[in-house]
Symmetry: C2
């Protein structure tokens, strides 16, 4: 029996509540589809640890994860820890250290969820945001000049490499070729005059290897507008680190719930473990009450199963997610209901 | 009788069709409210000129505009001219040369326009995006390294100055104090670790001068989502050049039409002329057919009247814009109708 070694990093807040739900679902699938999952938990890699010991994870953190087949992460963030400290101390080092250069965020409008956007009907919206995940606008290059003086300034350097952009574009074009055959590149070459025209050139260059894919490019401002105006027209949307971040949260809202949205941080070459995490954050306002929506974590676990070579098991999970929304009225608070995390998970397990 | 010297730059595409409509409206208002408007037209400052002569405007372009009281611009952009060429050759030099550091974009859902967002009802959505307009992510600092080689990379430097950020924040806080007393700052200090934490610090610092304003800050990804989820909860949203660009287009889409959205590029000190322009672009696909929506240009003209010291005249115009939408079913193609630019303008003039 195949066995997969899974690292569990619950992190902060509701991360610690949704991860056990995902684990329950995974275990059922493992039994049904005949694979094993062995978990190693890193329970104290969190902001609590940072507040106690000054570091989000141990110095050899990445080494501890390196031999795992995949990482399932809950959420990172704490009211008393600045976000750039918590994220650059845990989430971002894992993404970068393990060359998880693809951040994959599927967007679906499910039956049983009312989208805030009138035209976003169940079945009609089904696309994927492919976000460049390890370079670009998120960089540590930059700093302050004349701190505290009237002429103070801060600079931030975005760094886009030919290799880094090309590989994520190749992934996105390949995905479009396997899906609906359409790709939209998010850009801003009218305002961001060095890196974005470079991105556009590389899109045109990589596109030549995928003649079966119809592609276009849209300025990020116009594209954000089109997400709201015509959400049904997209198939694969590829974007830089920052633009992908914005577009995928926007798309999750259009789909009707950030609580359901999943993300995969992929190292497509499988030289390193990939990481799976719900899009929602640690939600300190509802943490500890057992009312968090577990679907984001559960759908992320499905993406993990797909990555580990179990597409049928993954489909069972997404079918169950769709089923619990379409066929029952059990809902957590974020979806307008009163169910607890456990009740919502149990209902989904019933359907499974 | 007060007389105002207005520079008209129709620019490209539908810019040349909507500006005359705005001018008709302005003339009516001048007669009614007792002020004069003297126009100077810069008809060939455009991409056509660039294609012919290699420059969007003459070398002394800014000097020609300097003695004007305001500038009304149509649109810039042409299929055969890369956007970064056309924009950095005309629009951006004017914004920067004349220190138009505030880009003001009001968002209203009008009766008679169906927003794509269910909860965005007429009257319930009325806010303003204040965009930093002359620095930040739009900079010419950066370039390519090892062009054409496998290790090629491009860098782009965002530059945020204490003076530049503080003045736009002061403007935004002041506006919030005069409006609903609430301000939201768009930021991304978890990912953009140098300039965005600097922005956040300056927000906290400037806020202390406006104790009557309740303010918060939101990460740009979450904020884009909230625009869709709760568009009615905003009053003044202040953002960097790039974030303001994205948020204002998104907000215009949520309001139901990019064709109606106006923008003011303000030099609040009035040391230089300010510039007013619709948010929509040159729309080459419909240019030359006389079917463009003139309301964006007309509402921009209203913002110009307000800036020139004629708030009552400005209100007449926005009332007429609201009236033509609420009380008639005349609509241009972008709004689902069949009216021409001239017919739509005539109907509005009737109501005026
Ligand atoms: C055309 C482009 C440079 C411009 C901008 O981003 O400033 C436009 O999108 C706008 O919002 O005025
Ligand atoms: C928390 C933050 C750094 C992160 C990001 O922007 O990458 C988050 O928004 C996400 O999308 O995973």
């Amino acid at each position: 029996m195949t066995n997969h070694r899974i690292a569990l990093i619950p992190g902060d807040g509701i991360g610690t509540e949704v991860l056990p739900a995902a684990q329950q679902v995974l275990d059922v699938l493992g039994r049904r589809h005949g694979f094993g999952l062995t978990y190693t938990s890193y329970d104290d890699w969190s902001c609590e640890r940072y507040l106690r010991e000054g570091a989000m994870m141990p110095a050899d953190g990445l080494d501890q994860l390196r031999d795992k087949d995949a990482i399932l992460l809950g959420a990172v963030g704490h009211p008393e820890v600045p976000d750039h400290v918590s994220l650059w101390g845990l989430l971002i080092p894992i993404r970068r250290g393990f060359r998880q250069y693809v951040n994959l965020r599927p967007i679906r409008v499910f039956e049983g969820i009312e989208s805030p956007v009138r035209t976003a009907r169940a079945g009609a919206v089904d696309f994927v945001v492919v976000r460049e995940n390890v370079e670009g606008e998120y960089s540590q290059v930059g700093g302050r000049f004349n701190s505290g003086f009237p002429d103070e300034l801060a600079v931030q350097e975005a760094v886009f490499t030919r290799a880094g952009v090309s590989r994520v574009l190749d992934y996105a074009f390949g995905l479009a070729a396997r899906r609906g055959g359409r790709l939209t590149s998010a850009t801003k070459s009218n305002g961001i005059v060095h890196t974005m025209p470079f991105w556009d050139e590389l899109v045109a260059e990589r596109a030549s290897g995928f003649p079966q894919v119809a592609w276009d490019q849209e300025h990020i401002d116009a594209l954000a507008a089109k997400f709201v105006l015509e959400p049904g027209r997209f198939d694969v949307v590829v974007a830089s680190n920052l633009f992908g971040d914005i577009l995928s949260d926007l798309a999750a809202a259009i789909a009707g719930s950030i609580g359901i949205a999943p993300a995969a941080n992929l190292n497509p070459e499988r030289a390193y473990p990939s990481m799976f995490e719900p899009v929602h954050g640690s939600a300190p306002d509802i943490a500890g009450q057992g009312v968090a929506n577990p679907l984001g974590a559960i759908w992320s676990a499905a993406m993990m199963l797909d990555h580990l070579g179990h597409p049928a098991a993954a489909k069972d999970v997404t079918d169950a997610v769709a089923g619990v929304l379409a066929k029952t009225d059990v809902r957590t608070r974020d979806l307008g209901g009163t169910a607890t995390t456990a009740e919502f998970t149990d209902k989904l397990l019933e359907l499974l």
